[in-house]
């Protein structure tokens, strides 16, 4: 039973192909625009609002949602929960692609993308939290590439190298967890420098902790979410173990995510109390904050709990989508919505159509590459030659 290179009949004009084709073509136009006319033409950014959704969505959400990589590999290899083994490769792949796309998106956002290696290799601004993010993302991307590489090598048939790399798994996993802890939390800490600009309900000295903790359930939810998508559209690529055990992975992560989210909910409340920001709850900002906290943390946490208790896969998947949306809401709130909250609405930022289109382009690119890899390499199934791990 050779699942590799088993590609369904080559229908060129499927709905998927046409839609992605259009988006990618549009993306190319935008890319040309961005690099010929500048940020001012493509985005609604201005001097008062220097960061838009390319940072808020592409970077912050991208990194948070790509946390599945470290969460899954850590639970499998470090905590020894072997039942997550089949989820490791898809998760690592998504994480790798996620980070690669984050870096790609940064090329659009920063002024001189060819200087992106500067902070690491040329002039180290060590007092900056962005330096830490940059350094860790760079290192972690490397780690993810190595972690992912066995799949590619199996596909290409580099047996010796593959076996050698596999021996590094534990080391890479530990590196991955350390680096993820650092940059996930540092992304939150980026906003520690702006107590005067970020709304007090979102600004907290615990921001790094919030970002790290929320990245955990973001990653788990993303793994469940992807799993359900793969199940629907890439079923033919899965081997029997995958088909049989993937619901087990979903329930396991559902239980874990539910627990972590409950904890997250309470540390958010503690932050509220430490900052003495209760009175803000009764403003319109407060309602928005409560929507995020109750509607997109507490509610999906309960959904997860019920779903995993009753072994209800639909509920768990719904909760996963809900949580992913909640994470996006949280990251966008901090970077865009509650940022510069004191300014009159005329001076606030609102993404332009082209900015949104570029983000969609990058996400689509990710899906296309994911599909390309998954349909060719042993991600959702085990390579017949390497059955015994």
């Amino acid at each position: 039973m050779d699942l590799d290179n088993q590609i369904p009949e080559n229908k060129k004009f499927t709905v998927f192909n046409v839609v992605t084709g259009i988006i990618l073509a549009g993306g190319l136009v935008l890319t040309v625009l961005r690099f010929t006319m500048g940020l001012g033409t493509v985005t609604n950014l201005d001097n008062t609002n220097p960061w838009g959704i390319w940072i808020g969505f592409d970077l912050l959400c991208g990194v948070a949602l790509a946390a599945g990589g470290y969460v899954t590999s850590a639970s499998c290899y470090i905590f020894g929960l072997k039942r997550f083994h089949l989820a490791v490769r898809p998760a690592i792949l998504t994480a790798f692609l996620g980070y690669a796309l984050v870096v790609l998106a940064l090329h659009y956002d920063v002024g001189r993308p060819w200087r992106l290696p500067y902070p690491v290799f040329y002039s180290q601004g060590t007092s900056s939290l962005l330096f830490e993010v940059g350094l860790c993302v760079f290192l972690y991307l490397t780690v993810l590439l190595i972690e992912y590489s066995p799949a590619a090598m199996e596909w290409l048939g580099f047996k010796k190298l593959r076996n050698w790399v596999v021996k590094l798994t534990l080391l890479l996993t530990i590196f991955g967890v350390i680096l993820s802890t650092l940059h996930q939390s540092s992304l939150g800490a980026l906003f520690m420098i702006v107590p005067s600009k970020l709304h007090p309900l979102w600004y907290s000295s615990y921001l790094p902790v919030y970002f790290f903790i929320s990245s955990m359930f973001a990653g788990m939810s993303m793994v469940i979410f992807e799993g359900s998508l793969a199940h629907r559209y890439l079923k033919y690529k899965m081997d029997e173990t995958h088909l049989k055990e993937s619901s087990g992975v979903a329930f396991g992560f559902a239980k874990a995510a539910s627990l972590v989210m409950m904890g997250y909910f309470f540390i958010k409340i503690i932050g509220l109390s430490i900052g003495n920001n209760w009175h803000y709850l009764f403003t319109s900002w407060g309602l928005w904050f409560l929507l995020e906290l109750i509607g997109f943390v507490l509610f999906p946490a309960i959904l997860y709990a019920v779903g995993s208790r009753e072994k209800n896969l639909v509920l768990v998947r719904l909760a996963a989508i809900w949580t992913v949306l909640g994470i996006m809401l949280n990251r966008l709130n901090i970077s865009v919505v509650a940022f510069n909250w004191h300014l009159p609405s005329a001076q606030r930022y609102y993404p332009s159509f082209m900015e949104i289109a570029t983000s969609v382009f990058i996400v689509t690119l990710g899906i296309v590459v994911y599909k390309f890899i998954v349909t060719r390499m042993p991600i959702l199934h085990e390579h017949p030659d390497y059955k015994a791990h």
């Binding site: 001097n47 020894g80 939290l129 005067s196």
Partner: protein
């Protein structure tokens, strides 16, 4: 407090050596580290009560920095009707506040003692110079705009219209002119001396003496003395600063202080996580191992049991066979003795039977 350190030599050994000697000889506690900024650094005092809103400073700034000519000439004071902020080609702007009694306030980089932009920059493109100005080095800048996010005064601007090499721009306090011994362009141009250049300490004294001499004219506060850890640019005002577009809720905590917490948490994670994670790994591994061992033991025990059972059976079988054999032999002997005298044909038939028994005996031995 001044902290003494050895020049950073780049090697780990030297670095560790330096930190240890530093702590040993000076014995400074971590909690009392307090930096007062560069002694004798320069700044500018802006007395807003004197400003007449003539925009001469804007004009001078435009000229000394070789900026493009604005749409409306600097003589057009109608520009003041709208609130403005610094832009990529406007390092300083004058804003007008109040309707009856108009107050004019010049806005530009405040050249913080502990600049947020420098603290935020991940390529050290911003530097607080000992002379006072905070300067920007475009040759390092990546264009991430975190400096603009970080700046509490909303000063740095960005060349959004440039596709390939956009710079962050802001007032430089005319650092190049200062080096030549010249005054900053705006200070030189101000007809009213609403801007005075000098040592920050001196300016603070002047500002305070003005407040003391004219208590009715000034709010009893020098803006910039402590805001965000203090700024090189200081302000005096007759109206509450909040009403002339200067935020009073920024606090006195400087940007590096705000981020020092999360920054110091990082190394701890690197120190602890490997220990913790390998620990967890070891525990889970050990659990696996124990589980495996137990399984193996159980297997062995089962095998042992099986062997014993079989041996017993064999033994029984053997005994049985031996008994049968002896019985048979006895029987044969008896029979032979009894029937020795019988006929020769009958004796031949009996011999064949004995041979059969012997064969089965051999089989049992082979099984053993």
């Amino acid at each position: 407090m001044l902290i003494s350190r050895r020049k950073f030599l780049g090697s780990l050994g030297a670095a560790i050596g330096a930190t240890t000697t530093g702590t040993l000889t000076k014995a400074y506690g971590a909690a009392n580290k307090h930096f007062k900024g560069y002694p004798g650094s320069s700044g500018v005092l802006h007395d807003t009560t004197l400003c007449i809103g003539c925009r001469k400073c804007e004009q001078a700034c435009n000229k000394v920095n070789d900026l493009p000519q604005p749409e409306k000439p600097f003589e057009d004071l109608g520009v003041l009707d709208k609130k403005r902020r610094t832009q990529a080609d406007e390092f300083t702007v004058v804003n007008q506040f109040g309707t009856q009694e108009k107050v004019f306030v010049k806005k530009q980089c405040n050249h913080c003692l502990e600049p947020a932009c420098a603290s935020a920059c991940f390529v050290k493109a911003f530097t607080k110079t000992p002379e006072g100005p905070v300067v920007y080095d475009a040759s390092l800048c990546v264009g991430c705009r975190y400096c603009m996010v970080a700046c509490p005064f909303d000063i740095p601007a960005y060349e959004y219209d440039k596709a390939l090499a956009p710079r962050v721009t802001k007032c430089t306090m005319c650092a190049p002119r200062l080096e030549e011994g010249k005054l900053p362009g705006c200070v030189k141009a101000c007809p009213r001396e609403a801007l005075i250049f000098g040592k920050r300490d001196t300016l603070l004294k002047i500002a305070k003496s003005r407040i003391q001499n004219f208590p009715d004219r000034y709010i009893d506060h020098v803006y910039g003395e402590h805001e965000m850890g203090g700024t090189s640019w200081l302000y005096l005002s007759g109206k509450p600063f909040e009403t002339i577009g200067m935020r009073e809720d920024l606090g006195t905590t400087s940007a590096p202080e705000l981020t020092s917490g999360p920054l110091s948490a990082v190394p701890i994670i690197v120190g602890l996580w490997p220990v913790l994670l390998t620990g967890v790994y070891a525990i889970s591994k050990r659990k696996d191992k124990i589980a495996k061992e137990e399984k193996e033991d159980a297997l062995k025990a089962a095998e042992l049991q099986a062997n014993e059972d079989m041996n017993q059976k064999l033994e029984e079988l053997r005994e049985k066979i031996t008994k049968e054999k002896t019985a048979a032999i006895n029987f044969e002997v008896k029979k032979a003795l009894e029937e020795v005298s019988k006929e020769a044909e009958a004796a031949k038939e009996k011999e064949a039977e004995t041979q059969d028994i012997e064969e089965s005996e051999e089989k049992g031995k082979q099984e053993e």
